[in-house]
Amino acid sequence: MDPLTVGIYGLIATLVLLALRVPIAAALGSVASVGIFIIFAWRPGAEFQPEWAWQPTFSLIANNPYAFITTYTLSTIPLFIFMGHLAYEAGFTTDIYRAARLWLARLKGGVAIASVVGCGGFSAITGSSVACAAAMGRIAIPEMLRFGYSKSLASGSVAIGGTLGSLIPPSVLFILYGIFAEQSIAKLFIAAVIPGLLSLAAYVLVIYIWVSRRPQDAPVPDEEISRADKMRALRDCWAIIVLFVAVVGGIYIGIFTPTEAAGIGAATTLALGLILGRLNLSKIYAALKESVFQSSMVFVIAIGGKLFVNFIALTGLASEITMWIETSGVSVFMVMGLIVLMYIFLGMFLDPIGIILLTLPLTIPIVETFGFSLIWFGVVVIKLLEIGLVTPPIGLNVFVIKSIVGDKIPLESIFGGVAWFLLVEVFVLAAILFIPALSLYLTTFL
């Protein structure tokens, strides 16, 4: 069978299995495995010969996931998750959220806005969106729920806020892009700053409008708040401020790398919690258990996703789409539009790194022949990949949030909450696309 056909059937089969409540990891992994098998067994122009397929299929199923989970860089994700759980168990997050609630009492949706801004801040210490959503989700969502915020607002705002992790530097995705496109990484980083802040502002706006229209989703504190209360609440936050300064400062002074920041952050939280007597063995164990539980859930999906990328690579789907776009004979404008649609489509199913590996070798030459800036295109691509992290059916950031909240919030409510933000993402994306200066202006100062 033609690999491309296998690929299309594979995407359909994935949707069907997901609808049948097959665990996401299993749906991705099984479709990918069977698809890989068929492609190897049923080579174009030949009979179906399963004996050709067993060895390469087993090889991919075993070796690629094993190599994937033992990648050092990925260890930051469980460690950042652990840091979030420790901070929660030690009550540091409660302190900061109490302060945010008191200080932002008058602002509609103040705590959700604080959470999204917090995601922006956390983005400055991590290069990964999933890590950002995981740590901030643990910190922010329980507090928002405690203040009576609606489930979809609480979970949706952090899921979307987490996507800032790769947009605001440092960013693993931009480094990868820079290597593929032979572009200055420093320029890419700085180019993403305004689009990153613009996205952040758009999320804040969405929360504001959302809460204006549905005030019951974000109750304001009804008690009288004195200035003394506010100052006391702020004073209680010193520990978490120390923590943040230590981690950010450590990165920027050069004591450790952003990859190491997760381990240092967890260790600092642990030390502070123990010194202040706010952590004991049972709390530490609770934090460890939750972190390991959550990491296992998220990574087993990522393993399925990784295999799915191998499957799509074998189908040649990405190169078929780009070739079709290239030869469609439509205007430059339309071609760019189709490329954007392709990224949105692939983003529904695949993880950002997978899409980068599959598509950039194909799209960059096209964009280059049009004479467009590859710095600008990089920002566009990363923004699209970040959107893919929160679009159904496969949205890794949403799954991360789901792994934190467990049975408390159904998956659909999180996707539902994110939907509000996605409406505005369309405008942010359009702005980044049509106003290249948003990306390019700051690079002129380098």
Partner: protein, 339 residues
């Protein structure tokens, strides 16, 4: 299908690097040559960027038939191609000598051939990184004293060599080096000229000490043995011929790219210049001595695998001498052509 279509065969090639730079250009060249010389019956279908097989899984995946051909780094596949790894144990930087010696070694040495058969991999041709240099961020390093107290990203034999001079070494994947040097958690890295350019390290570092130490030669292209056996005798002959030519082609390109990149870096790219400094002879010689001694680790590994380690090492060393003599006598082949 028409008979022309039925005869056309595209070999699935898994490349872990991007479709940019010297190596990618060489692969495009290979694809084109293969199509031209086979009369359109043989070509490559290249998957870039490790979407199919990453550097770490390439050798195993190739052996299992995930791809027909792949770029492989044996050091990531413990125990699979130990004989190939001998090519990394001698500290010399000449691309052409190294690559031709490696090619001949891998296609004639009994131990190497035996191992390929067991691994179900047919060696095709070679890459190289070019000689190892030392990149530093803040201060030029020309003596051991300059190195004392620095944190350097290093791999393999350079770890004991640099640590002996008082540096501390860290390991990290190549894409992480930029960040680490940029924020100062690493003061530098052992590196190669083309890497400094491809990974934009000139944006964050200011000096290169031209150590001209050893290159990575256990780094090449393999073909799945079953795929090779399934080719017609003519096609096999073509593949053999192309493998050697490809190796020579890459040697020339890498040699030239080193000179070009060096000039570019000194000139400045986007306004970022790198100053190139020379180590003292004493400093370089002592680093080479320590790094060469690291061959003991390879010999231990080879002996465990039942190889006559000294004989294999000796065979490769003799080939290095052979091609060094050839270069000294005749110069590089591309120089001869242009004369």
């Amino acid at each position: 299908p028409t008979s022309a279509e039925a005869q056309m065969r595209e070999l699935r090639f898994a490349e872990f690097g991007p479709n940019r730079g010297t190596r990618a250009a060489a692969l495009e060249w290979l694809d084109q040559e293969m199509r031209d010389r086979s009369g359109g019956t043989l070509g490559l279908d290249i998957t870039w960027g490790g979407a199919l097989l990453g550097a770490k899984t390439a050798a195993q995946g190739l052996s299992d038939g995930v791809a027909d051909m792949a770029s492989i780094v044996p050091v990531y596949a413990p125990g699979q191609l130990v004989a190939y790894e001998v090519t990394d144990t001698i500290q010399f930087g000449d691309e052409w000598v190294g690559m031709m010696a490696t090619y001949e070694f891998m296609t004639t040495n009994e131990a190497a051939l035996e191992e390929q058969k067991k691994a179900n991999i047919k060696y095709f041709g070679n890459y190289t990184t070019g000689p190892t240099q030392l990149l530093t961020r803040e201060a030029p390093v020309t003596t051991a004293a300059d190195l004392d107290g620095l944190t350097i990203r290093a791999t393999g034999a350079f770890v004991p060599a640099l640590e002996a001079k008082g540096a501390s070494t860290v390991s990290m994947s190549q894409p992480k080096v930029y960040e680490a040097i940029s924020n100062g958690s690493a003061d530098g890295s052992t590196t190669y000229y083309y890497v400094v350019k491809a990974y934009k390290h000139y944006e964050v570092a200011n000096y290169i000490t031209e150590l001209n130490m050893g290159q990575v030669l256990a780094f090449g292209i393999g073909m799945n043995m079953n795929t090779y056996m399934s080719l017609t005798p003519d096609q096999q002959a073509l593949v053999d011929e192309l493998g050697r030519e490809f190796t020579a082609y890459v040697a020339e390109k890498m040699y030239n790219s080193r000179t070009d990149v060096k000039a570019e870096l000194q000139e400045g790219i986007d306004g970022h210049k790198i100053e190139i400094v020379q180590p003292t002879d004493e400093f370089r010689a002592s680093l080479v001595e320590i790094a060469n001694a690291d061959v003991a680790r390879w010999k231990e590994k080879a002996a465990e695998k039942g190889m006559d380690a000294d004989a294999v090492y000796g065979a490769f060393a003799a080939l290095v001498d052979k091609y060094t003599a050839e270069r000294d006598a005749n110069g590089y082949p591309w120089e001869a052509e242009s004369n």
